[in-house]
Symmetry: C2
Subunit: 270 residues, 2 copies
């Protein structure tokens, strides 16, 4: 089963568009947990098991593991998700982008080493830099389009013949990259107007939508702007709001409640 | 001593603009070497010690280590460069780019974990995504501008009010990012006209120039287009042509000869 089919199955089986972002910060984890790579793994597995029923996807952010030298723990976390929650999509958030032979190594990292269903990539280097990812049968390639950060417009909103760069990326994804593989796009919840524009361009292509929760994106505006013709179409990511609602003994239960509440909030609108 | 001063010192002490790219491929290493992470470390240390006198910089490409699960070996390789060749600039080629809190983790990875002098970054997410790197006093931030791959023009050559995107990146680097930290730009040797345009925009800002050697960039055209007002100004990268001229018992000597020949070829023009 390829990425798009697995994602459709995950939306249906979980009835959720929530993606739980795994950005483990040892300084914000429950104090009962060791502030080291093994503590990070224990925390993330606890979060995964507490929230899987309410999520269509998990998205570990590799930077949080790389800063700690916790690649081994990330491998074990990914294996845990695949083994215990096989219907939940596993996205490696790595935002890779490099020339062909090097991109091939990053594809090995994402798909063989970590066994991800999909990886986030940066389009700045052009089509040939995406091809090693797109060529992996059944794997998902989630291309940055309009990101959720305040400065995302610095390049992404520059106008090319009257069309912002992020819309050009969306059109290229629709017309070119989607013929080469299984494509999705990153569009921030912090920009609902742009999300709506991208949805109009790409039809039912899946969108990974960060920016609700701690980043302030509005859930109603996001769902209304980004849902597809079937009422799904998005992996709406929340990281910090799910991971850190409590650092007490109830941390896992608090994460479960936060995930269920976000899922319900999305579901009520979709 | 900050990145720019260390680089100027490296140009002067080595009288070389060669940057040796460390892209270790176990299938191309000498057969006497184990095709595993420890073999990769042994090979890279051999290359480093054979070529340091002829190079201003070493540039390990993290993808080649990440695909093998060889982060520990990359740490030890970086420590070796810092300890044994302290006047040679150490660039982590990672092409990172993410929103602020995540970019901060990537900065930790590059500058604390690996102890690099500089890291390559992708500008697609805008200024705030670069700030965590730029804020590191004395560290270098090498921003992708016009990359060496065949498809680099797909986005980078799009015209904004008549100006290609890569030139906009160069101007922004000059006018904005260079006020926030120590900046350099990546411009491919495969595009000497564009290299010349970028040099005209950025004055004496250092350029990391991949694309000679296996990628086919012409050394004479590169040096003539890219040198700065002092006759230096570039880290001209060669990876495969230095790493793999021989897989026999003479592999280290062959790498030394390839590095010296490339250095001399550059020096004769500069």
């Amino acid at each position: 089963m390829g990425f798009h089919d697995k994602l459709s199955d995950a939306w249906a089986s979980s009835d959720s568009m929530l993606c739980v972002g795994l950005d483990p910060d040892p300084t914000r984890m429950p104090p009962a947990m060791a502030a080291d790579p093994e503590g990070v793994l224990e925390f993330c597995i606890g979060i995964v098991d507490a929230t899987a029923h309410a999520a269509c996807a998990f998205k570990p952010q590799i930077a949080y593991f790389a800063a700690l030298g916790a690649e081994d723990q990330l491998e074990r976390l990914c294996a845990h998700v695949r083994d215990r929650h096989p219907r939940t999509v596993l996205i490696l958030d790595a935002k890779r982008g490099d020339i062909g032979p090097t991109a091939e190594r990053y594809a090995e990292e994402a798909f063989e080493r970590y066994g991800a269903d999909a990886v986030t990539v940066n389009p700045y280097l052009g089509t040939d830099s995406l091809e090693p990812f797109l060529a992996r049968t059944g794997k998902g390639v989630i291309v940055l389009c309009r990101t959720s950060n305040p400065g995302s417009g610095d390049l992404q909103s520059l106008l090319i013949d009257g069309e912002p760069l992020y819309e050009r990326v969306a059109r290229t994804a629709r017309d070119r990259w989607s013929r080469l593989g299984e494509v999705a796009l990153v569009v921030g919840a912090t920009y609902p107007n742009e999300l709506s524009r991208v949805r109009a361009i790409v039809g039912d292509m899946p969108l990974l939508v960060p920016g609700i929760g701690a980043q302030g994106g509005d859930v109603r505006a996001t769902v209304e702007a980004g849902r597809d013709s079937r009422g799904y179409g998005m992996m709406i990511n929340s990281s910090r709001a799910i991971l850190y609602p409590s650092t007490g003994a109830d941390w896992a239960a608090a994460a479960r409640e936060a995930a269920e509440a976000t899922r319900d909030q999305i579901r009520a609108i979709a």
